[in-house]
């Protein structure tokens, strides 16, 4: 497959053959074994993410958890302890006898939900405003980009803290607060992609053939913004998940009766002397998920644009 592709390009397309010469000079050879192939390198990190998504969706249906239940006989049991009812608490229990593992599973759902919903909303606002600014130009562009500049004057977690504090703790409010602080990046990327696409030959050709503005937008401009938006999504979703956990840690995110990783770490902070596992376990889960997203994002960029 690899060799037929390269021989094909040397015969028919001189520009791409010179491009492949340049890349071989830079030291990138075509992969010979499976674990060197870009697709494998991508999915090696995508797979743990799929596992996380699966656990977040299915886990709470299997593992029983009741956020307000108190089990005094099983307080502060260390990881691996056998409880009085014969069950085993693999990751220990917290100060009211809740199973830490069950809390983790429940928290995974909140992280995934907030991450996905925030990215969808912020991405949609960013796509619409960015394409509008890039395609229309003029005052629309000026107003939207000045607004973006003003918003970027806030450290983003600060604006999220302000909005979440005013709205009060709830999952929907966290999503709102984070979407309002995150649309700007999507908007700028969509605008840049639109500006680039506007000057491409196929768009000029479509325009010359009499395509209307809406047709140009929906068939040519918007599709060209999707790939760059997906790439920054992988950066942004990690930031959003950390921001949700930070807000919940401060008590401004999820409400008290809803388990989330940030809230669990905050609970564990008061029990560091005798129950280190309460604060430690959710943080490990959080770091691993965000790390996998980060490496997956890097690999996705390599995969979509091998020249970089």
């Amino acid at each position: 497959m690899q060799s037929t592709q390269s021989s094909h390009s040397t015969h028919h397309d001189p520009s791409s053959s010179s491009a492949s010469n340049v890349s071989s000079l830079a030291g990138t050879r075509p992969p010979r074994v499976l674990w060197q192939s870009p697709r494998f390198r991508l999915w090696m990190w995508g797979l743990p993410l799929l596992v996380f998504i699966g656990i977040a969706i299915v886990g709470p249906m299997i593992v029983e958890y009741n956020a307000v239940q108190v089990n005094i006989t099983a307080r502060l049991e260390p990881p691996g302890a056998v409880l009085t009812d014969g069950s085993r608490a693999w990751l220990g229990t917290d100060q009211v006898g809740q199973d830490v593992f069950a809390q983790l599973i429940q928290g995974a759902r909140v992280s995934l939900l907030v991450g996905a919903a925030t990215i969808l909303i912020a991405g949609f606002i960013g796509l619409v405003t960015g394409v509008a600014a890039g395609f229309r130009g003029g005052w629309v562009d000026t107003v939207l980009m000045r607004l973006a500049d003003i918003q970027l004057a806030f450290p983003s977690i600060l604006l999220a803290i302000l909005i979440a504090a005013v709205l009060g703790p709830s999952v929907v409010n966290v999503i709102l607060a984070l979407a309002l602080t995150r649309w700007v990046t999507f908007s700028r990327v969509a605008r840049a992609a639109t500006l680039a696409a506007k000057e491409r030959d196929y768009v000029l050709a479509a325009r010359a053939m009499g395509a209307g503005s809406w047709r140009l937008l929906l068939h040519h401009i918007v599709p060209s913004t999707i790939a760059p938006l997906i790439v920054i999504t992988t950066v942004e979703v990690g930031l959003v998940i950390i921001a949700e956990a930070s807000l919940s840690y401060l008590g401004l995110g999820t409400p008290p009766d809803q388990a989330s990783w940030g809230r669990s770490v905050a609970n564990g902070r008061d029990y560091l002397n005798n129950a280190w596992w309460i604060a430690t376990m959710p943080g490990i889960a959080l770091s691993l998920v965000v790390l996998c997203i980060g490496v997956f994002g890097d690999r996705l960029r390599d995969y979509l644009d091998p020249r970089l």
């Binding site: 004057a153 806030f154 504090a165 930070s246 940030g262 564990g268 902070r269 790390l291 997203i293 980060g294």
Partner: protein, 306 residues
Amino acid sequence: MSHYLVKRVGYSLFVLWGALTIIFLAIRLAPGDPAAMMIGPSGTQEDIEALRERLGLDESIPVQYGRYLSDVIQMDFGESLWLNRPVASEVASRVAATARLAGAAAAIGLSVSFPLGIIAALKRGSLLDAAISVASLLGQSVPSFWLGIMLILVFARQFQILPSAGSSGWSHLILPSITLAMPLIGVLTRLIRSGLLDVLHDDYVRTARAKGLHPRVVLARHAMRNMLIPVVTIVGLQLGTLLGGAVIVETVFGWPGVGRLLIDAIYQRDYPLVQVAILFITASFILINLLVDLSYGLLDPRIRVQ
């Protein structure tokens, strides 16, 4: 240069005005009565009315906005509801602690990420490069509130060699500043690595090498200087992120800075204090970005002309 200066300062003032307006709107237009929220569920109707009048919340929104802007220009921010002291002096008394924390974190961040990024770029593709790149991604992935608690767990509780809270001596500064520096180290190391890799392929670097200059001279005199220009911008932006991160790190370590004051004010529903603390952090961020922009103009004369 002076034209460039005036333009940049003017734009920063515009952005500051916009930020002031967003803070005003976020607090005034939130669902519910801000006065009732500040008093809490225990207050009577008379208490709420009295507070509305005291804060001028009984006026129309445009009148409130006009008064708010004129108060800000006169640097008159009113009194804290919770501490019964002028909010401006309350924030001012916390500035030094935040500056010390952010300064220490920036120093740690820069002094660790430059060597790491340069080594990774020079040894591109090696095991060391891979290790540095995983470590820097990890630095960005670990949430700082949790990293802080883990450092407390290990160094304050387990080994008892460093204090977990307070701010009296140098030893108190170590854990919070490392916590705050960690994401910065992650971002900068990656940035310096890719920035250096970009310029190492440029013609002038090849020329410098071809004429037989020592690799260290090529690196220091040719490659590093050109790599610095994009890096300085990101450093400026990251310093702002540092101020945001300080809010969380100060809360974890009980560090008496502006960030912790902000979170305490939120818990106390002290909106005048919340407003000023956020305003102060944002204004500092805008000022840092302005200084970065100006130094960018100094570093690269081409920018001033545009």
